[in-house]
Symmetry: C2
Subunit: 429 residues, 2 copies
């Protein structure tokens, strides 16, 4: 165990950065692998902005790249965020200068992970990003380190706490998506521009990283199939519950002989299933390995304390001197990402229709489904709630996505059907 | 990433050892940190015993110590088991010879962990034991590596799959402990001598290790409070369920200002709680950190495939060249284990009495409890099932263990009470 002092340059002083400064001020004895971590320089957009921590003891850098290159920086900690711009420039600069990098930046790793891994491995320094996925819950370490003695077949879980909070709160309070989102924004649980979260992009970044760790392919955010939760209506939450399900934004990655499918979808999860019972801002993940079987992990996916703890754990890993590939295999040996076409997905589905209250509608819908080869599993018609039409909902047996799309296109054209049927997937978990 | 070949000497060819040989034969490309792992020598009690794997390609050693010392052994893998004897001798020999050790031996680490850690750290080599706790589920890595950026307050969980299987099966089938244990033994799920499992000693070994990792104290099996499940009657399982609980063997470690309490007890867990819903041979663990909050992890706690995968992950960690303390702090800085006296425990309790079917019994019991200062939370009397007496059961508000013991002693002496009241703790989780 080396006794050396590791001088940290910390770029980005938002929630996570402040949390890290706070942690190191509370734990001046932090020396998990023998060595000691000391912050020497910091960088952020504004030097004068009020912060919960005192930064007057650290050298200030206006430019993150200069902080990365400073001779006083042994380890560069990137907490700026964003897939490009200063974050990417500074991480590249640090790696090229042979400095270990710790980052919480999921967009950066999901979109540029393979090229950054190549830089890190060429320089022989670690590039660690535990805090990028599930905040304080060590999903990255589990896949990268603990599962190397296995062949992972799939991962699936809840990776965005904001969406899970909104869905939980819609169910608990009976309020609409827009109302709950508005409150969440006012309370600071959701961003002013919530697109990254509610659009499913944040979860897609995270699951793209997990796919790379699990399957040894280059992280490929561009290949993810993404659907967010902004179209989820309270009616769907209620109908799903009547059918024995809860709606969750499920991020999954599956490997098959055809390739890899990375998906983010609002999905129906059976009540009582651990993912259905994961409430509020919690995150949760199932990892399925050929030898180990199923491992489930659940914990806080965000927040200053948990995420800063994950960054601190990565800093500890740097101190150990461990040398291993950034992803499951060295960057040069990562398999190209072969995406499975969305239309190839086979699974059960939930279809919600709005129809005129007239005889023969159900027969017409059932007939169309039968003609398309879609087999109905359950059927539910609720009393009319307003004059706009009658909602009917059905679940199907496992059906190829292409067949479902065809059926939906045909049902939409039936005279008694008032709007395009709403499709939600039933999670295969 | 080093490209070197790591030559493994594997002592012990039972379930886990055979699983490891199987894994490495299926994955000849196993090179998770650049280097390659190759088995060169093996050792076991009998060379000729039929095995699911072919060992003819490896050098045979009658003596595990000789295998550890062989110049062909770079990494010694100890899968013999037992806290003393050949396992300990061989691990000590390997560490003294400056060789990394990977072991699945919970008894060895729980009973001699601090002295072995001192040997490993003096030699500057890793001593890894992921497979010792929760089999394929990486509890050790989580505590040792992922939680270093936090202060852990407690861990609690289900660490023995055999007990959880027996309790689950008693509930599901309505059969007695002895019947279910007998079946489990015939099917190979339980050992011929089941004491280590059903007596709670196996879980106590495991939680002693987790306490050392979580709190930075020397692992101290001798300080664990241990109660197994062999006294659990079907009646308790049924009564607990009527009260809204399921009985689980809960292993826990808590840190307070007074010291550390390591406990293994059959405990009542609320129905719906993740530990109550952990069924069959699964293991599960809650880790509570001051900053991160609660993390839950669940997965297979035993079995050839999962446990061998954990051993393989440790071998991968050896290859990375990482240097960190064996426990939370270097062996020389581990805090002495200060045990909290069992009588200091404060918690809710379940008391089951067998009383004569006569007037005034409940009044007498209630009065005695009140005199002792025990406050009753709920009360349940079931119809007489046989002529032996009437079972009554009650739960208490949080009470000090010393107070409970006093109350039980006094209730036992009441004329209408037919046997010493049965105490089960209600888990504080």
């Amino acid at each position: 165990m080396t006794q050396k002092t590791w001088r940290l340059g910390v770029a980005g002083l938002g929630t996570v950065g402040s949390g890290l400064l706070q942690f190191l001020s509370e734990r001046p004895d932090f020396a998990p692998a023998g060595g000691k971590a000391v912050i020497t320089g910091v960088s952020a957009r504004s030097k004068s902005r009020p912060r919960p921590v005192d930064i007057s003891g650290y050298a200030w850098f206006d430019d993150a790249v200069q902080l990365a290159l400073s001779p006083e920086t042994d380890v560069f900690v990137e907490l700026v965020g964003g897939s490009d711009g200063p974050a990417k420039a500074a991480v590249e600069a640090a790696l090229k200068a042979g400095k270990p990098v710790v980052t919480a930046n999921k967009a950066l790793i999901a979109e540029h992970g393979a090229e950054l891994a190549a830089l890190a491995e060429a320089a022989g320094v670690p590039l660690l990003f535990e805090a990028a996925v599930m905040g304080g819950t060590p999903a990255v370490k589990m896949l990268r380190e603990a599962m190397v003695g296995d062949d992972v077949a799939s991962v699936a879980g809840i990776l965005n706490g904001t969406c899970n909070y909104i869905l939980s709160e819609m169910e608990a309070s009976g309020r609409s998506f827009a109302d709950v989102l508005g409150d969440a924004q006012r309370m600071g649980y959701a961003e002013a521009d919530p697109t990254m979260d509610v659009g499913g992009f944040d979860a897609a970044h995270k699951v793209s990283i997990l796919a790379a760790l699990a399957f040894g392919c280059a992280p490929t955010f561009a290949a993810a199939e993404i659907e967010g939760i902004s179209q989820i209506e309270l009616l769907d939450i209620k109908l799903a519950k009547d059918l024995g399900y809860r709606i969750r934004l499920i991020a999954s990655a599956d490997r098959s002989e055809e390739g890899v499918a990375v998906r983010v979808h609002p999905s129906l999860v059976p009540l009582g299933h651990p993912l259905a019972e994961t409430r509020g801002a919690l995150n949760a993940l199932f990892i399925e390995g050929r030898r180990i079987g199923r491992i489930f992990i659940q914990g806080p996916g965000a927040g200053s304390g948990p995420t800063a703890a994950a960054v601190a754990a990565d800093i500890a890993d740097v101190m150990t001197g461990a040398s291993r590939p950034v992803f499951q295999a060295p960057a040069g040996k990562l398999r190209p990402f072969v995406a499975v076409a969305p239309t190839r997905r086979v699974g059960k589905a939930y279809l919600r229709l709005l129809v005129r209250d007239q005889a023969g509608v159900i027969a017409a819908v059932s007939e169309t489904l039968a003609e398309c080869g879609v087999s109905i599993d359950s059927f539910l018609q609720k009393p009319v709630e307003d004059a706009g039409g009658v909602p009917i909902v059905l679940t199907t047996h496992a059906t190829a996505e292409s067949v479902l799309t065809d059926a939906i296109n045909r049902i939409e054209k039936l005279p008694a059907v008032l709007e395009r049927p709403r499709l939600l997937r039933i999670a295969r978990i």
